[in-house]
């Protein structure tokens, strides 16, 4: 989450602030939080909640919800590893719902395209089916977990690179200094 640059910058800021405050007391804990957040599940780790067939199908769905296009998508963010992790953490109802929903979707796949798996369809076929089930609880849950996984910290199983943050222009840091954006910079420049 925090690259070396922002950690260095935090240290520099802290050294300055420490002269006038008690920030030194909280600094070690803040840094250990940074370290914790930097740890992520190893790429390609085995799944612990989903079986590999389920994982492959759900990953294919996630990749249509947040596709890899001009910017990274669910695949690069490791969303399926996030799902595997959180579905095993007190989300039994959602897991059961996804399993039933996946079987129903696969039945539609078989009926419409005469093939057993969603992942084997091309993207326009996949989008056509997902559009048909857009209002189902299954799709709602898939969308929720995909979007959440795109922006969840790596400790929940996704990619340590947090490509979702880059995609929306969010930079995760522990400090900022004004100006924060265009309009307050302009305000200061004009002396308003």
């Amino acid at each position: 989450m925090n690259g070396p640059m922002s950690r260095r910058a935090l240290l520099a800021l802290t050294a300055r602030l420490a002269k006038q405050s008690c920030i030194v007391l909280t600094l070690p804990m803040v840094l250990s939080g940074c370290e914790r957040a930097r740890q992520s599940a190893a790429e390609g780790a085995l799944f612990s909640t989903l079986n590999s067939d389920e994982a492959s199908e759900l990953a294919a769905i996630a990749s249509r919800i947040l596709p890899s296009d001009e910017t990274p998508g669910a695949n690069e963010a490791g969303v399926i590893h996030f799902m595997d992790h959180v579905l095993g953490d007190g989300r039994d109802d959602e897991l059961a719902l996804l399993r039933v929903g996946l079987l129903e979707l696969q039945a539609m796949v078989q009926q419409s395209f005469n093939t057993p798996t969603f992942a084997s369809l091309d993207s326009s076929q996949q989008d056509e089916l997902l559009t048909r089930i857009e209002s189902t609880q299954f799709f709602g849950t898939m969308r929720f977990l995909t979007v959440a996984g795109m922006f969840a910290l790596p400790e929940y199983g996704g990619s340590a690179d947090l490509p979702g943050y880059r995609m929306i222009g969010f930079e995760s840091r522990h400090f900022w200094q004004p100006p924060f954006g265009y309009y307050d910079a302009d305000y200061a420049a004009r002396g308003e």
Partner: protein, 557 residues
């Protein structure tokens, strides 16, 4: 987590302590510090853990989805909700929301610290009562509370700038206002065009070092999150350490109050609770100060019903749990040409208070303020889960392109407004659903009064005009035209008043019915104010503590 050392002193549960304080939040933290440093023996019971700055993370999944601070079904605390008493309340994740930790919701709040104004305390007299509501004056005035507002400014820590339109104050703010954000530059410029005034928003977040704590580093994770720098002015950092340092305060975390028991004379005798191991305990006390918030305070009183108090403790008026007020809200979001980056720094830095009181010729009661914010409190996941803000898909490549603009290039103008006190809006015990301790779940019944909805709409329309004046390329707005489904503002449920037939506590926060029981928290409020209640809850706590200390020293508790 970093558990604080709260092992000393150890009071015997079977021997009276001077005070048991139930809840360590905005009010309870102040009561703990004030009573313990005045020399009284104090036991504080807190449901949650004693988190420290180093425990707090920028973790949306933990805080906003898994309710790590606020607790929900996942932690064994389901609730039910309905709009009217004719309906059966349905289980919900959470309708009445607060943080379960030392410092309570003052740890995760956004820290907007508007004071009430003189009019708030006497508005029913000035404007007339409103049929079908319990709208009434407070038994105290702004002037009586003002010294305590100033104590909050200095002892809790508030940053701001007094404007000529603000209520009178006896001391300046201890810290200057926070630097203006782009979202508030847009608000300020729009307000100027429309002949309105945006001025620096007072916040309980330090703009410069104060009382040995550091200044804010603008990380942006305020609302819903604990401050990792101790720059946000929670009672966790501003009060509790001093209470513990007094040597007179024992903080018992992980302890959930079950009921308050009385003796034959109708006085409070002990507080029964489950300790961190789940074992039932009972702490004897000379007096109890209930600071559990506007949801849990009335719930505990109702759970404490006994043969002497069949309708709940301190409830001869029937007002325990009634008059729940959420404050009402609206939000208008605009898309702008350049990066606003409202996700950085504190939630808001400017507020427009020109509509503090809506002109009565509009035909409805109400008022409030408008401030500039980020549309999702600065949270990436929170924004993305909502879908495209301004019409558009909620998945696929087009959705991603929307998100890439909408997180950084948007500002929200939010209205924060009044709620009228109604008997039909209340906290009660659910007849069937239980929580993890086997207690009846919190049941919330709430439907905004038509004037409250008219006020929301009025503010929505003003926010929309401001957004147009600010030059938004696109805009979208929302207010709860069919009523709200929950809130973090839990107000009015043990209201203060001189008349024991229609109020629960007297002007000094003492229960009318029980001489050694005090309620001090959001439940004490008589009217809702305009939307930022914690400053007033804290000022009331300082004032209550002063009066309780004097009464105790006179032997009058």
């Amino acid at each position: 987590m970093a558990e604080a050392n709260n092992s000393l002193p150890h009071f015997d549960t079977r021997t009276d302590v001077d005070f048991v304080i139930i809840g360590s939040g905005a009010a309870g933290g102040i009561m703990a510090r004030e009573l313990s440093t005045a020399g009284f023996s104090v036991v504080v019971l807190e449901q949650g853990p004693h988190l420290q700055a180093g425990d707090f993370r920028h973790d949306e999944w933990a805080y906003d989805i898994n309710s790590e601070l606020t607790w929900s079904v996942r932690q064994g605390h389901p609730q039910t909700f309905r709009k009217t008493e004719n309906e059966e309340a349905q289980p919900v994740e959470r309708a009445l929301s607060y943080a379960h930790n030392v410092g309570g919701s003052s740890v995760h709040y956004s820290g907007n610290f508007w004071r009430l104004r003189p009019i708030d305390f006497m508005e029913a007299s000035v404007k007339g009562t409103i049929a079908g509501t319990n709208f009434t004056d407070w038994p105290i005035s702004y002037e009586e509370l003002e010294p305590y507002y100033s104590r909050v400014d200095w002892e809790i820590g508030v940053s701001g700038l007094q404007g000529p339109w603000d209520p009178p104050r006896s001391r300046d703010y201890p810290c200057p206002p926070m630097p203006v954000k782009g979202s508030d530059v847009l608000l300020e410029r729009a307000a100027r065009q429309l002949g309105l005034t945006a001025y620096p928003a007072p916040v309980a977040i330090l703009s410069q070092p104060h009382n040995g704590r550091p200044a804010c580093t603008h990380c942006g994770f305020c609302n819903g999150y604990g401050c990792e720098m101790n720059a946000k002015s929670s009672t966790m950092i501003a009060m509790i350490p001093q209470a513990l340092a007094s040597g007179n305060c024992e903080l018992r975390t992980g302890c959930t109050a079950a009921r308050i028991d009385t003796d034959d004379s109708g006085r409070v005798r002990e507080v029964v609770y489950w300790d961190a191991d789940g074992t039932e305990q009972a702490q004897r006390a000379k007096a109890v100060v209930l600071c559990a918030n506007g949801a849990e305070t009335p719930r505990l009183l109702l759970l404490s019903a006994n043969s002497q108090f069949p309708d709940g403790l301190a409830n001869s008026s029937g007002m325990v749990g009634k008059n729940l007020m959420f404050n009402a809200h609206c939000s208008v979001v605009g898309l702008f040409e350049h990066p606003v980056n409202a996700y950085k720094s504190v939630p808001t830095t400017r507020v427009v208070h020109d509509y503090y009181e809506i002109d009565q010729t509009m035909g409805f009661y109400g008022g409030g303020g408008i401030d500039g914010r980020h549309p999702s409190r600065g949270m990436p996941m929170g924004l993305a889960l909502r879908g495209s803000l301004f019409d558009g898909p909620s998945w696929g490549s087009e959705f991603k392109r929307h998100l890439s603009q909408e997180f950084t290039h948007t500002a929200a103008f939010n209205g924060h407004t009044t709620s009228l006190p109604l008997s039909s809006n209340n906290v009660s015990l659910d007849p069937t659903l239980k929580d993890k301790w086997g207690r009846p779940a919190l049941r919330c019944t709430y439907m905004d009064h038509p004037d409250d909805i008219a006020t929301m709409k009025f503010f929505h329309d003003r926010c929309s005009e401001l957004m147009s004046a600010a030059g938004a390329i696109k805009q979208t707005g929302y207010y709860a035209q069919n009523g709200q489904n929950g809130s973090v503002h839990l107000l009015g449920t043990c209201r203060m008043g001189d008349d024991p037939t229609n109020s629960v506590i007297d002007r000094y926060h003492r229960a009318h019915d029980v001489p050694n029981l005090y309620m001090v928290d959001g439940s004490s409020l008589v009217t809702s104010g305009r939307g930022q209640p914690t400053m007033t809850i804290m000022a009331l706590a300082f004032r209550a503590a002063d009066n309780i200390i004097q009464a105790a020293r006179r032997g009058e508790i």
